[in-house]
Structures are given as C-alpha cells and as structure tokens.
C-alpha cells in the first residue's frame, strides 16, 4: 500500500500572488502545507505586469508566470490550443504527476486541465464559487464547466452547498466530488491582547463593495442601525463600484463621524482593522465559503459559526437590523480568546492539506485510458455540445501528436529539484549543483 507516496502537483489558476483574494490565498496556503508534507508543488499562472517568468516564493514554491496577457477580469485570453506547448513543456520538465486546477472562472485553468487530460495526466478541480443558472454568462460558464468536469478524476468543493451547486451545474456524479472546507491562518488572525470596552460598539465591514457582496444592503442597514443604537460606530473597509453609494448615504444622513470609510485595505492590515471592532457584519448575497467570516471569528469578533458565535439574517434590511440588535445584546458574553482557540481546532490548513492528499491518492488510483475510451464521456454532454466537445478533444490530441513530432518529450530537459538550505552562509545554488551530479 503506497500510502507514503509523494506527489508532484501542478496548481493552475489565473488567480495567484500578487493578487490577493480567497482563491489566491487558498492556493498559497494549500501549497505551503503540501510542501511541508513532503510533496512537490509548482504553480502556473499568467504574468502580472512586469512579473513574468519563474519566481520562487516562500519555502521554495516555484511559480511560473506564463507571459500570456490577461484580457478580461484577470483571465488569460482563451485561445483553446495556444497554451498547449507551454503546458506540455512545464508538465514534462517538472515531471508532474497530478494537475490541480482552481476556480471555474479561470480560462487558464480550463485550458490547462484539457491539455493535461489529453496528455494522459490525472486532473483535479476545485470550485470556489457559487454560480447561478439563469443568465447568459452563467449558462456559458456552466457549459464550459461541464466540458472540463466530463472527464475529471476527482473534484473538490469548499462546502456542501458548493457541492450541490457544482453537481447541478455540471452533471458530474456526486461520488466524484469531495468536500474540503477552507481554513484560516489562525496564527495571523489572533484577537487583540486587551478586550475593547463596550461603551462604544464598533461594527466592522470588510469586503469588496460590489453587488454580490451586498453593498446595497449596507446602504440601507447602516443609517437604520445608527438611528436605533446611538452608541454604535461603523468602520467600512474595502473598495469597489458601490463605494459611491455608501459615500452618498453618509452625506445624506450626516454620518461622517459615525461611519468611517477606510478604502482598500491591504491584506497585511486586515487583522489590525478587525481587532479594532466588536462585531463583524457580512452582507454577502452569496458565498460558497466565506473566509472573511472565519478570519473575523479567529480575531474574536462576534459573527458567524456555531450557534453561540453567530447571528444569521435574511438578506433584507429590516431583518439585518434586528440581527445586529441581537448581536449587540450578546456582546458582553463573548470571550475573544476562547473563540480563537475554537477556531484553531476547527479550521487548519494542515488538515485541509491532509484531506487533499487523500483526494490525490484516490485520483492516482484510477486507470489510464486512451482517447477512444474517453470520448463517449464528452459526447454525452449534449446533442450539439457533445459533438463539439468531442471534436475539440480530437483536435487537441492531433495537435499534441504533432508537437511530439516537432519537439519530442525526450528533448525537454527535466529540472532538478531545488533543495533550499536553511543556513544563510551557504549559497542555495550549491545544492542545485549537487542534485545534478
């Protein structure tokens, strides 16, 4: 039983450092924990401005910033077959065994998974968001997702709701979907050493000010709460298209001294913003898994979670005001440090990494199949779409064979594994040389 087998994983997504967000930090933390478990992880993403080429981040995590320009909302231009050569080169030179794609909205992820599947690698997909079914954008997105997931080895979702959503959207069998919740970096998000006084209650809101995150609800809730509870102050961090509406609301009700707008908060300063408050308000209309709430709970703010740590409300201003009132009454009984230690036990990235490792082992046990055996799965996707998908995969296969003739896999040199030395006096590159010899 090969329980201790070490994998060589390629994480693919359009979203990675230097961008900050849920998906980016998920990939980063998961990769770090997998490195600690002894696996080899390489990340592939598109170039961010000047940042193009190979970079090494913490603990020797290698990142390929492939110089394909992003065209819309951080996504690479989808050329279907354009990324085949570079994907093949990276897969061969790093001797990858599993390809793990993140986020349904990332075109690079879908393309890389398609190429990897054509070349016979095992693929895994993690979905981080919930999507609708009704509008044109969602319909197209769901079709693309159906194509990618038609032949996937395993899929991971970050919550049970997300699993339901993914299964319904893509038609994949539920047995292939694992649920591994996200975690939070409890070391970074710890409560303030001294408890804040409860004379003036501070409610913190940190999110992107867009429609999906319920910024419109905030515009209605904040004046109402300020009117009902004179000792409450709001701190709003984050930026976005709806910020103008919030500023207008502030002026209309003359709440300049009671509502503080911080603008975009860099990720490193989120913790200091969170510990300056008592309650965390999250007004998202839809979230697959809200890391922000976990971070707030880790800092000891009263928010969402087991019954005594959460107050839920409908997405309706009246109900939200009522819930905030309830939270204010609950405030004196909250102990931030106890909350933090509960969070530490419940959510940890090492746990997520171990569970992901089980998914990888499961994926590698599935059998190898050639193109003819895989095609029926694509043809099942729909009357017209099935044939189109089948055709796309056949052309991909032919292009791959052509590429094999032009540049055989043997001519792509394999990269020796870089072993980082902890000692500052020795040069890290010294170990590179020894590995080659």
């Amino acid at each position: 039983m090969d329980q201790q087998r070490k994998h060589r994983i390629l994480m693919v997504s359009d979203f990675f450092y230097p961008n900050f967000g849920g998906v980016e930090s998920h990939i980063y933390y998961l990769s770090q924990c997998l490195l600690k478990l002894g696996h080899k992880v390489v990340v592939m993403t598109h170039a961010y401005g000047n940042r193009s080429g190979v970079r090494y981040v913490t603990n020797g995590l290698k990142v390929y910033y492939v110089p394909w320009r992003p065209f819309l909302m951080q996504n690479t231009l989808p050329t279907f077959y354009g990324t085949l050569p570079i994907t093949r080169t990276i897969l061969v030179r790093e001797r990858i065994s599993i390809v793990h794609g993140h986020q349904a909205f990332s075109t690079l992820c879908h393309e890389a998974l398609m190429h990897a599947r054509t070349m016979g690698y095992k693929i895994i997909f993690t979905d981080h968001s919930l999507y609708g079914f009704a509008d044109v954008g969602s319909i197209h997105m769901n079709k693309v997702l159906q194509f990618t997931l038609a032949d996937i080895s395993q899929a991971i979702c970050v919550s049970h709701t997300s699993k339901e959503n993914t299964v319904l959207r893509s038609g994949i069998t539920p047995e292939r979907v694992f649920v591994i919740p996200n975690a939070v970096d409890t070391a970074m998000f710890s409560p303030a050493p001294n408890r804040l006084s409860c004379d003036e209650i501070v409610i913190i809101v940190v999110s992107r000010l867009v429609y999906r995150k319920g910024a419109d609800l905030l515009v209605e809730v904040i004046p109402e709460v300020c009117h009902l509870f004179p000792n409450v102050r709001f701190v709003v961090g984050g930026d976005g298209p709806k910020r103008v509406r919030l500023e207008e609301m502030r002026e209309k009700y003359s709440l300049q001294d009671r509502v503080e707008m911080l603008g975009a908060v860099p990720h490193s300063q989120v913790r200091s913003v969170l510990i300056s408050g008592h309650i965390f308000l999250n007004s998202s209309l839809t979230e697959a898994f809200c890391i922000a709430i976990l971070e707030a709970a880790s800092c000891g703010l009263l928010t969402v979670l087991p019954d005594d740590m959460i107050v839920l409300a409908e997405p309706d201003p009246g109900d939200m005001v009522h819930a905030i009132g309830k939270a204010i009454h609950m405030l004196p009984n909250i102990n931030p440090h106890v909350m933090h230690s509960r969070m530490k036990k419940l959510y940890s990235w090492h746990d997520v990494a171990k569970r992901t490792e089980i998914v990888y082992d499961c994926a590698l046990q599935s059998s190898d199949e050639n193109l003819l055996q895989r095609l029926p799965r694509y043809l099942k996707c729909g009357a017209w779409a099935g044939k189109l998908f089948g055709l796309v995969m056949i052309v991909n296969f032919l292009l791959w064979q052509l590429l094999e003739l032009w540049q055989p896999a043997e001519s792509i040199e394999e990269v020796p594994d870089l072993v980082l030395v902890q000692n500052e006096h020795e040069e890290p590159m010294q170990d590179f040389v020894e590995a080659r010899d």
């Binding site: 080429g53 190979v54 910033y65 110089p67 570079i86 990276i90 040389v433």
Partner: protein
C-alpha cells in the same frame, strides 16, 4: 456582343461560358489543385526550416583567470563578434529559466556590477543544461 463572338469563332457557346463541364476535366482540375497545394505546403515548410537555422557556427567562452572573460560568436560567413568582460565587473554568473509564451528554456547570464541588464553568455544559441552547468561552474570559480 456575346452573340457576335460566338458566331465569329464558330465554337459551341457552352465551352466559352462554362469551361469546366465534363467530369473528366473536373477531376483533372482537382488533381492539379491538390498537387499545387502540396507543393506550396512543402515549399513553405522548407522555407520555415531554412529560416529557423541561424547562421551561427559556434559560440565560445574564454576564461582568463584574474583578468576577464571573452565571449565570442562565430558566424558561417567568417564574421566574429567578441565581447570582453573584466573580472571585476562580474558580480555573479546565474542560470535562468526563461519562460516564453510557447516554451521554457535555460540560459546562462552574468550579473554585472552597476548595470541593470543581465549579459547573456550565449546570445544566439540555446545550449542544453548539461553543457551550461560546467560553464557556469567554471565562471563561478573564476569570478570568486
């Protein structure tokens, strides 16, 4: 006009207006098209191959310990381009992985003092890693 030309030549109108009518002529025309397209594809392929080949005969690195490093590029036409780098100007030789939109290859470069740009040791050719590593080791030893 058409009437008069037909009468003058005395030929059948259908042949003038419809040059490809009989099946035999159709297949001949298709054959010709195929042959010409195959020839043009072959021509394009060979042109591409020829253009792909660089006119460089060899590139060399001459290390003069405690003095400097001479980088030479020899062309088939007989032209030689030489660059000299004094040993004090070299901060460190580095092996880089260069990522292009279609591929990724190794290159050897020198980090120079007081310069923003890296100087590539092999500017035209792309030797494989097993050739680059001994050159890199030798340059490291010389620049220390």
């Amino acid at each position: 006009m058409i009437q008069s030309s037909v009468e003058a030549s005395g030929g059948l109108p259908s042949e003038r207006l419809n040059p490809i009518s009989s099946p035999m002529e159709q297949s001949t025309a298709i054959q010709e098209l195929c042959i010409s397209s195959i020839w043009s594809i072959l021509l394009c392929f060979s042109l591409a191959k020829v253009l792909h080949h660089k006119p460089v005969k060899k590139e060399s690195v001459v290390i003069m310990p405690a003095f400097g490093v001479q980088l030479e590029t020899h062309y088939w036409s007989g032209r030689v381009i030489r660059r000299f780098v004094p040993i004090s100007k070299i901060l460190k030789p580095v092996l880089n992985e260069c990522v292009t939109p279609v591929t990724c290859h190794w290159s050897l470069a020198l980090i120079l003092r007081d310069e923003d740009e890296l100087m590539l040791v092999f500017q035209k050719l792309q030797p494989p890693v097993r050739i680059l590593v001994p050159v890199w080791k030798a340059l490291c030893a010389a620049s220390h």
